[in-house]
Amino acid sequence: MFRKVLVANRGEIAVRIIRACRELGIRTVAVFSDADRQSLHVRYADEAYCLGAAPSRESYLRADKIIEIAKVCHCQAIHPGYGFLAERADFALACQDAGLNFIGPRPSAIAAMGDKAVARATVSRAGVAVVPGTEGEGALSDEDLLALAPKIGFPLLVKATAGGGGKGMRQVNSLEEMPSLLQSARREAESSFGDGNVYLEKLVDGARHIEFQILADDQGNVIHLGERECSLQRRHQKLLEESPSAFVGEDDALRQAMGAVAVRAAQAVEYINAGTIEFLVDHKKQYYFLEMNTRLQVEHPVTEWVTGVDIVKEQIHIAQGKPLHYHQRDVSLKGWAIECRINAEDPYQHFMPSIGKITHMTLPSGPGVRVDTGVYPGCEISPFYDSLISKLIVWGKTREEAILRMRQALDEYKIVGVRTNISFHQSLLHSPEFMRGQFDTHFVEEKFNLDKANDGKDYHPEIAAMIATLVTNRQAQQAAQFVQQKPRNTSHWKWLNRREWQRR
């Protein structure tokens, strides 16, 4: 049994993991950067150690320091969360070498799935359909790619093999424009990942991004926990996720078929622990393997709620060499769960990140509402890490109930001090396309307009005018009171001084 686990992460996911450990009676060790001393994960852990300065490379990416702390504290295991070191095969290997249990897959599986071109080739050999493209392993020259492109057909995508987050990615509409786009994609990939390798993939138009949660133990059991709908994205960042997917819906045959393929893809790399197989699904319900995320996902709570499986506790359980608590036949999706990612960014200013101190926060609560958060009233949002500050997850018996509940929860959620995308989510939840469940991965960027999203309904310009006027009047009154005090303040300094003292 693990007695102590180091959580090599920060923010909401570190809090999520610490909660799971404490509920299992496992002591937790947090690590933190100078910017995070007052963060919830530091406060909630049993022990906490500083890694260094705020930038990630001086703190949360310092694999050496993290392993050193884990050893000194006599931890048995390290949970990497997501991001930072979670998908670094070398870190998983270093843990292993240090005698520490890495709560995740084997280094070989991370490496195999980390190179996107290798991953495609591997699962393709195992009989999993991938998006048509260059399936060959290894580096392809520009000549190779230009020769292969017409066979794949245009439009297509150039993607970085080490890729992620849309960097080193280019859409190519014709052979003519391909050479220059290849060059710029390679240059961006080189500067982002230190690896200029690229591959080609057919552009699947109007596709959905649907992914399957996988759990695998080291005794050969692999199951899936159904799908998550993740098509609502902006700049390749997921914004809102659901389980089940309205597109898969009642089509349980499709669900089971895709789930079986996802299991096969995981088996192709002898996968252990929790992971996610991402698919692109076109309108004809053809699905293609996109990539595998070899870690816990941000959006794991929606799956937890509809399946009843605590994925983080299951990860810890698996890492201790125990068999899964569930068989595939135990898993069914009950009701509907939706997650909104609450980011510190201003939806009215091109989603510009927002930093500052949270001066007030009212959390939504009540039946069917879950909040996973790493912030609290009084804490500072720093510019050093990503802008995800909280996840709001709701459950309903039906998709309709879940949507109505999410709207109510978003209404209740008040954060003052930084701007957030709460009103963006509210508009999205009111859009007819979302309500009908009809959207693809381009919906948010190309078809959703925040300003027009809810014209007509709930349009109250007169009320807004009243409120702004009343705020202005209130300020004018306060200023007037202040001006009236001024003569007294300057002429009776002793009186002021007394007041000043009392106020302290």
């Binding site: 510009m352 927002s354 001066t359 510019p383 807004a464 005018a465 409120i467 702004a468 009343l470 009047n473």
Partner: protein, 165 residues
């Protein structure tokens, strides 16, 4: 107190009669207006209807977020409005605009250089912060004058990046 409040090019004439009454145009409403916890949000009862809004100061008035919709509202008392209209002919909308970094970050792209003409909405710089690339755009048409930073620079919050004239 009387105000002229402008919202999406429509003027509303409001009069605050007393703490509990507000006239909008010809109609008098019973209101109960409260700041919640001394924060930027407010509760308003208008003839019994309950509304809650977040209100932020903006360049030209207020941003009111009411039922997840943003309203840009400009409030002037009557005297202000007269003064502004009288002087409007002489106002010069073409002063220098100084682009400042809205947060600390890394300059990853500067698609403009000194002397370039830009339109409102053109990207002036790309600032990487919170793991995102953020496009800083021009608020108006003009000519880029002094570019004070280079690609690769780490900048502080509010640091001046370039000017538009």
């Amino acid at each position: 107190m009387k105000y002229v409040t402008t919202l999406q090019e429509q003027d509303y004439l409001l009069e605050i009669i007393d703490d509990e009454h507000l006239r909008v145009g010809d109609r008098v409403y019973q209101v109960d207006f409260q700041a919640i916890g001394d924060q930027q949000f407010y509760s308003l009862l208008v003839d019994g209807n309950s509304y809650e809004a977040q209100v932020f100061p903006a360049d030209d008035g207020w941003h009111v977020i009411l039922q997840s919709r943003l309203y840009s509202v400009c409030v002037e008392d009557e005297r202000d409005k007269q003064l502004r209209l009288a002087s409007q002919g002489s106002l010069n909308p073409h002063g220098e605009f100084l682009l400042r970094a809205p947060m600390p970050g890394l300059i990853v792209s500067l698609p403009v250089f000194s002397g370039v003409k830009v339109q409102k909405g053109d990207v002036l710089a790309v600032l990487e912060s919170m793991k995102m690339q953020n496009e800083l755009r021009s608020p108006r048409t003009g000519v880029v004058t002094r570019v004070r930073v280079n690609v690769g620079d780490n900048v502080e919050q509010k640091q001046a990046l370039l000017s538009i004239e």
